[in-house]
Each structure stands twice: as C-alpha cells, then as structure tokens.
Symmetry: C2
C-alpha cells in the first residue's frame, strides 16, 4: 500500500485465486476448471481472419453474443448482458445495488469474492450462517437488509437450493435485487432464468469458465428484466466499455450454440463425481452430495490443510479454506476418471505412510 | 435506471464509444484504430494448442507479459502491471488515488473517459482549460488539488507536451500521483517511462490498441515504482483478478517482443499523417500539427457536425465532439494512404455539391 492510496480503499482485501504453480506438473483439481477442451466450434471460430482483424475494436454492445445467450434462455436480447467473466457481473451488481444503507447479504460459507467486493466498497456485509450441514436456511433471507448474493449451487458446499426456495427468497424481497450466481448450475442444478419474466428484482449470473470449458477466456453474463439489467449495462459503460475482446465474443457465441457438447461434458463430470464420492466414502470420508463439478469432503483423520499438503507433496492439487467451519474439509474439483484415480492412489499412499 | 440502483450511482454517465455501424461498409476513421494487422508473431501465438487449453485459467499474475513489458522499458517486472485495456488501468487509478478530498485534475478538452470515471465515483473533477490553441498550460498543474490525469499526446488535440514539462508537473506534486496516459505516444511523442526510477508519484499508462494494432484484444498496462503500482495491483485483485484472458496474454507477449514491426507501422502512419495534413491545409483546413495517429482539424466552412454528417453520407466515418470548444472540429484517424484519399475525394465532392 503506497502513501498515495485513498483512505476509502484502506480495507481492500485482494481475492486469492487458487494457486497456479509452475514448479512441476500437478494433477490440478483446485480451481474447478473443466478437464475437457472447448466445444469444437470454438476452435473454428478463431481463424486467421479473426486474428488479422484484431486491429479493429470489438463490438462494445456484444450484440451477437447477447442475442445468442438470450435465445438459449428464451429471453429477449435486452435481457442478457455479457461481461468479462461472471466476476465482472458480480462486481457491477455490488456497485450498482449496494451501499451502506443496503449492504450485501450472503452466507458465511460461500464464494469468497462477495466479501472481497464488499470490502472494496467499505461495506459491512450481513452474513447469514449456513446450517450445521452447510445448507442455506431460507428463512434467513425472507426479510433481507440489502441485495442478496446467493450462489446456487453454493461453493464450496456443492449444495443446490431447490428452485422453489430460490423463488420464495426472490418473492419475499420485491424491493431488493436477488442475485443468483449459477456458476455451477449445469452440473446438477436448475437455473432460475425461467423466473425472470415474473420478478423484476431477479438477476441470474453465469460463467463460461466451468461447464462451457472456457476458464482461459473471460466470459460471464447476467440475465434479468430490461430495467434492472440497464443498471449493470450503465456500470459496464462507465467502467470498461470494451471489456470483452473480439476473440472472446466469437468464442462465446460458438460455445453457447453447442448445447449438446455442454451436455456431454457435464454428464461425464456427473458420472465421474458420483463414482468418486463413493470411493471417498468407502475410505471413511464424509461430506454432502454435490450438484457441482467439485466435492467438499472431510478426511477421516487429517485436517484440510494437512491433507492438502500431503496431496501436494504427491503432485495432486486441491483447495482448502482456513476458517473455523471449513478447515476440516478440502474442495476437490472433479476432473477426468484418471485424475480421480491419481488422487485416490495418492490418498491411499498417504494412508500407508502414516498408517 | 431501475428503482434498485444505489443513489451513489445517480451520476453515472456512460462513456460513448465511437460508433461501429453495421449498416454498410465505411472507410472507418473514427476510433483511432490502426489500419495494419497485428505483428506476425501474434498470428502464430494463437495456435490450436492455445485454443484447446482454454479450459484452464490464465495466469492471474500475467507474469510473462509483465516481464516482457518491463524488459521493453528497462524496468523490473514488479514495475509493470498488465490490465484489460488502458481503460482498466485508468479506472484503477481513479479508484485507488482519488476521493472527495483529492479530486482528479485534468484538462477541459481531453480523453472523455476521465470525466466518466470521475462521475461514476461522484467526484467533482478540477478542470484546467487548455489555452486557445489547445495547449496544456503547465503552470495550471504545478499545485494540483488531486491526482493529475495527463494524456500525452493529448486527445483530440494530438499535441505532445515536451517531457521536460511533464517532469516539471511530476516534480511539483510529490504527494500526488501524476498519471501520464500515453495511448498515442508511439506516433511522435516520447515516453515518460524513463523518469520512473526518479519519481515515486509517476504512473505511465499505455495501450496495445493503437500503435500495437490490437484494439480487438483488450490489453493495456501501467508502469511505475513498485509501491504505487502495488495499489493498482490490489485494485485489480479486488475487482477482477483474471481480467486478462489466456489468448490476450499470449498475444500481448508476442506483440511487445516485435518492436521492429511497431516502428514500421508507426513510421508509415506518421508519413501518411504529414501528407494528409498538407492536403487538408491546401484545402483551407486549419488545425495544429499532430503527434498522434489522428488529426484534429477545422473545415473552412462547415461545423464539425455538418462535415461529419456529409462525410458519413459518402461512406467515410470520422468523429466530432459537441461542446463549445470542439464543435467546429473533427477528429480524423490516420489510416492507409488509400483511406485518406477516399476522405479527400469525399471532401472535394461535398465542396462541389455545396459549391
């Protein structure tokens, strides 16, 4: 922090992304990436002409991508806003709708970026604890003090809150935006996008980084009624009008048009996840079922950190989170069946060495 | 604006990018893009493997690109920060260093995005009028009330403020950041980057959108001493940790390594600009010399808007800015010699029709 920094930012807490070490090759199960390449259409979308045309600005309105997104969800183009990753959509939501009189409201154990964004705006979030099994308590959100940020499925729990409960929260807070962050919805949840026409305060945020196999490009989007979305659009135009580049626009459009590939990839992940969870449980691990592309589990004996470190030693990366409620757990991304076999073999080896 | 929008954002004024019409093919001289394709290395950098690997997150530290940038300017890697276009770097500067007690300070006629960013933070900028020929009056900045945003060369004037004057401003304000926005510096200016080791309060911001022929990707960067740059880095990690995607990182690195291509392209633009300015002056146009890839000129008879509209009618796009000081002028991007001939032919035809 330099002496030039405004005191308004004295509480800036940078988000800590999962590590991307370069010292050796790891089985990388720590950042919830897809193990599959992007849809075949993506590889065709970036041709020589696209690269040669990079001297020209992208369409700042992202019209073609937003039309494709809207069509995919049965909405009108003005009901979709493309952003630089879903993080940018979430940042615009925090900027547009939250202030000291309407602080953001979210769970104690959820996507860590919400708290980072709140801090950056010097806002004191209203934190609602999950129950003892990491489930959202719907009653906690029926009279919210400010905009609700609801990750569904939640991370790192992997639990999906039924759409009827989401709707109860949206309906109970007609004067507050409810932002449903569906980064993992394609792995076992159900999108709230179908509710948009009924609720002026509902925003649905999704990303291309997980089920669309495109963490390396930065594409996210928000869906909502025209009026509430126009606030986010105004934010985009005031902070970074061209935040999606020409290649991302082409790639995003190609990806969203290939629903069949998305379904094939997510079905494969779900199959792998279920077999993997069973294998963990047979080794004494505990943890909830998951509706996401990761599992959140507890080693029978080791703390989250100890298990993480032992796995890292053996070339397998997972993620753990300090904090009283999470430190006994690790979050493991579901990769290919081979990746999961490597993790299980490493786990068995750790067991033997410490046996 | 929806009823959900925070009153804190009631002054949000979206930036209006230059139009990107799709109704017909235009000779596009309105957004200061380069007419040349990206460096050959860029076309090689995005290969099939790069596309297939897009399922993985980019390096959030942008280490390779920042190392290449630092090397190019004779700095250490921690003295370079890569951003999503220079707009993102400017937005971070406004967020990190400006508040009501230290409002941003900039010229009345300059890059319009500074005012947009100030508005978004509800800040009242301190505006210093340029002199009657659009020149920066150095004395106006020797006791600045807050961080200085200095576009150099300035836009839309195209005028370059000598480095000795920039240094006077930086030296006179040791307790305030001075942000030198060098978007157009490669077309006839001289970068202030060489001053960084001497001034803790100096930040130099550049973009890949102009002289590096990459407006379609979104790459910008800030250079400065480690300490002041660490504030911008913290902003990036609090707002959008992965704002540069994997392809942009590869493309940026390839582009920055090919200085010879940049020099060839910018020399060609300078040659075209000088011949074009002469042709305009021989037709009675007035306006300053330019150190940028555009000229800011006044038609002998038509207002900026009337000339813009007449050109648009004939398939040539330029830009004009409403406002008492600028409305008699148009800003014309310097493209290829053929582009400029097309503009001159259209201008002559307008003359004849209105004879």
């Amino acid at each position: 922090m330099s002496r030039f920094l405004s005191p308004l930012l004295d509480r800036l807490t940078p988000y800590v992304p999962g590590e991307q070490p370069r010292d050796r090759r790891y089985v990388k199960l720590n950042t919830n990436e897809s193990p599959f390449p992007p849809a075949p259409g993506v590889l065709e979308a970036v041709d020589r002409a696209a690269l040669e045309g990079l001297n020209r600005y992208p369409d700042p309105a992202a019209a073609a991508l937003e039309a494709a997104l809207a069509a995919r969800f049965g909405l009108r183009p003005a009901q979709a806003l493309a952003t630089n990753g879903s993080d940018e959509a979430l940042a615009f939501c925090m900027r547009a709708f939250c202030d000291a009189s309407r602080p953001p409201c979210f769970a104690d154990v959820t996507y860590g970026f919400y708290a980072v964004l709140a801090c950056a705006q010097r806002l004191e979030p209203v934190v609602r604890p999950l129950d003892e099994r990491f489930r959202v308590r719907v009653e906690d959100y029926l009279d919210a003090p400010g905009p609700v940020f609801l990750a569904n499925p939640n991370a790192p729990s992997g639990l999906f809150l039924p759409l009827s409960d989401v709707e109860r929260i949206v309906r109970a807070n007609p004067d507050l935006p409810v932002i449903v962050d569906e980064a993992y919805v394609d792995f076992g949840g159900q999108s709230a996008a179908g509710l948009i026409d009924r609720y002026a305060n509902l925003l649905v945020v999704q990303t291309f980084s997980k089920s669309r196999n495109l963490a390396g490009v930065r594409i996210g989007f928000a869906l909502g009624q025209e009026e509430i979305l126009s606030d986010l659009r105004a934010c985009k135009n005031a902070f970074n009008p061209y935040s999606l580049d020409s290649l991302a626009l082409r790639i995003g459009e190609a990806a969203v048009r290939d629903e069949a590939y998305l379904r094939r990839c997510t079905e494969e992940i779900v199959r792998t996840r279920e077999a993997f969870l069973q294998a963990l449980r047979s080794r004494g691990f505990t943890g909830n079922d998951s509706a996401a592309n990761f599992v959140f589990v507890r080693h029978p004996r080791l703390s989250g950190r100890a298990y993480y470190e032992a796995l890292r030693e053996k070339g397998v990366l997972v993620r753990y989170f300090e904090g009283p409620r999470t430190r006994d757990f690790v979050r493991i991304t579901v990769g290919t069946p081979e990746d999961m076999r490597a993790l299980l073999a490493a786990t068995d080896a750790i067991e033997e060495e410490n046996g």
